[in-house]
Amino acid sequence: MTPLLSVRNLDVSYPVGGLMAKLRGADQLQIVAGVSFDLARGETMALVGESGSGKTTLARAIAGLGGLVSGEIRFDGAPLNTSGRQIRRDIAFIFQDAVSSLSPRLTVRALLREPFAIHGIQYPEGEVERLLRLVGLPATIAERRPHELSGGQARRVGVARALALKPRLVIADEPTAGLDVSVQSEVLNLLNDLRTRLGLSLLIITHNLNIVRHIADRMAIMYLGRFVETGDTAPVFAHPHHPYTAALLSANPIIDPEARKTRLYLKGEVPGLVRRPKGCEFHSRCPFVQDLCRSTPPSLREDGPVSYTCHFPMEASVNA
């Protein structure tokens, strides 16, 4: 069966303003570089990585929401038509900033009706209440406006809006940021329910490694706009190959003071996109850097269900 979403060699850039930039011929800033992956029906993939590494940019490009895109995106076997209206129903997007992604003058009721109104769909009786129940909000909230909601309540309204038209792919940018752990479980369980019932595919961007471990089938780790490691979730957690993955996983804040000791710290500055490092782009911060890394970009390597780009992968024991 063809995957629901198939991305090949995707590059995404943003135009940068300024006459000087134009004159230098550097009027585009490449954010995402050479990303490829498949997402099967009913599969959950988590996208994690450095803030600013281009996760949102990648997700928005896939949803046809901006950026200068080159490369191939296929949805359901056919090249993605970003200008059509159907894609807006098939792909739902949950935005990173909960409150500011809700139109400030509309009530929650109006916000939840928007998707139906936009697509001229007959609006089912009691739908608002049903959607609110789905995300665990009381019906009394329907007459409030976004600024009268708490962060978590706004987040759940965003989730309800995204699910209103029964999309086939949900791209969720930090769907649980700002939720307490109990409500977080409820939202994730809801997405998971829909996944099993309707065969929905999920692309979840998150910084919360704890939930990745529980709900994702596969994960991709992004650094400076590239996937540095991808693979099935359990093996990646058990044995991260790329040093960035290892550092990221070990940095997860934990309650048990004992477990903090094995932390792998990254040194140095986060490199800018303007001057990408030569060789392996992680070399400026890698604790295990060698001469080879500074000169030659590593190619994609595979180890069972995991693929990664590193000359000197981590041993299995380091973080297991």
């Binding site: 943003y14 994690v48 990585g49 450095e50 803030s51 600013g52 590494s53 281009g54 949102t56 990173q96 900033d97 409150v99 500011s100 909000l137 009381p138 009394t140 007459e143 600024h147 009268e148 909601l149 708490s150 962060g151 978590g152 987040r155 940021a177 700002g178 939720l179 307490d180 752990v181 109990s182 409500v183 977080q184 479980s185 994730l188 369980n189 998971n192 910084h207 490694l209 704890n210 939930i211 471990r213 529980h214 709900i215 979730t233 359990a234 990221l248 996983l249 940095a251 804040p253 934990i254 309650i255 003071p257 903090r260 932390r263 990254l266 500055e269 986060v270 800018g272 303007v274 001057r275």
Partner: protein, 333 residues
């Protein structure tokens, strides 16, 4: 003013506050007690919608017009903040008290460059414009914004979510305040940056000796950063104590159930995650009795009729529950 070194920087006592909404009066905070000592880092966690941000806005005098303080006081360095005029409050903010908001975009003006905003915020300082700019760049570098010299002339929407959040942190710390209030400042950061930011916060905190009120949902962050933890549920602080002690031996049923839902604490991967079940009570008409009674597995007659007092229990300084000494609750997925 003669202030004892052991006096708390901030004391909230008996704070009760409601929002006027069309459906009536939403009692968002009820009899909230909280105190933060000098140089202490206090973590505030709890159900979303429980009033954490409201409490923070009350402290900062930034409540929206619909909010009304019914009773209680907020004392900061010996001064009751509830009585201050808008002008007096503005004098404190950005000088003695700084803020980082939950949503970084609210703190940043979308039509001004980051640099312009970081220079404007130093309006109290006598430095030259060039020096202010240099300080801004230094601060950006300190919160690890790459290419700070060129980034500083960019607009907020050209930054990633996490970068915006770090800019907001940088701006809050520039004033060297006595109290930093931070509403979920690390939510948008990846784990390495989150740890780095926590370390940075702690470093700056001990450097300038400021107290911190840190609102977050990330229990791991509280454990790593905070000296004390306060747990909020539906407008009340239900438990408070030293971080390590509360994590080890939570006393309030809500705290116990909340900790039980933390996916970090569940070793085996599971698709269906545990949750407390039920909803926040309707805050426009809270029932008599314990606010958690409708969801509490332990609730009985006493709980549904009488409002529990604040007890000291185990190592917790405050537990608002009739049965703080009962054996621990376990959550089933």
């Amino acid at each position: 003013m003669s202030l004892d070194a052991s006096d708390p920087v901030l004391t909230v006592s008996g704070l009760t506050l409601s929002y006027d909404i069309p459906a009536g009066e939403l009692k968002a905070l009820r009899d909230v007690n909280l105190s933060i000592g000098k140089g202490e880092i206090v973590g505030l966690v709890g159900e979303s919608g429980s009033g954490k941000s409201t409490l923070m806005q009350a402290i900062l005098g930034l409540l929206p017009g619909a909010a009304q303080i019914r009773s209680g006081s907020i004392r900061f360095e010996g001064q009751d903040l509830t009585g201050l005029s808008a002008r007096q409050m503005r004098g404190l903010l950005g000088d003695r008290i700084s803020v980082v908001f939950q949503d970084p975009m609210t703190a940043l003006n979308p039509v001004l460059t980051i640099g312009r905003q970081m220079i404007d915020i130093q309006h109290r300082s006598k430095l030259s414009r060039r020096e202010k700019r240099a300080r801004a760049i230094e601060m950006l570098a300190r919160v690890r914004i790459p290419d700070p010299e060129s980034r500083i002339d960019r607009y907020p929407h050209e930054f990633s979510g996490g970068m915006r959040q770090r800019v907001a942190i940088a701006m809050a710390l520039m004033a060297k305040p006595a109290l930093l209030v931070a509403d979920e400042p690390t939510t948008a950061l990846d784990a390495t940056l989150e740890i780095a930011t926590i370390d940075l916060l702690r470093e700056l905190q001990s450097e300038i000796g400021c107290a911190v009120l840190f609102i977050t949902h990330h229990l791991g962050v509280v454990a790593e950063l905070c000296d004390r933890i306060d747990i909020m549920y539906a407008g009340e602080i239900v438990e408070s104590g030293a971080t390590g002690a509360v994590f080890q031996d939570p006393r309030h049923p809500y705290t116990q159930l909340l900790f039980g839902c933390d996916p970090a604490q569940i070793a085996e991967p599971m698709r269906h995650l545990p949750s407390i079940g039920g909803n926040l009570p309707d805050l426009t008409a809270p029932l008599p009795g314990c606010i958690f009674a409708s969801r509490c597995p332990r609730a009985d007659e006493t709980c549904t009729t009488g409002h529990p007092a604040d007890h000291k229990a185990g190592q917790s300084d405050l537990v608002r529950c009739h049965y703080p000494l009962a054996p621990r609750l376990e959550i089933s997925a």
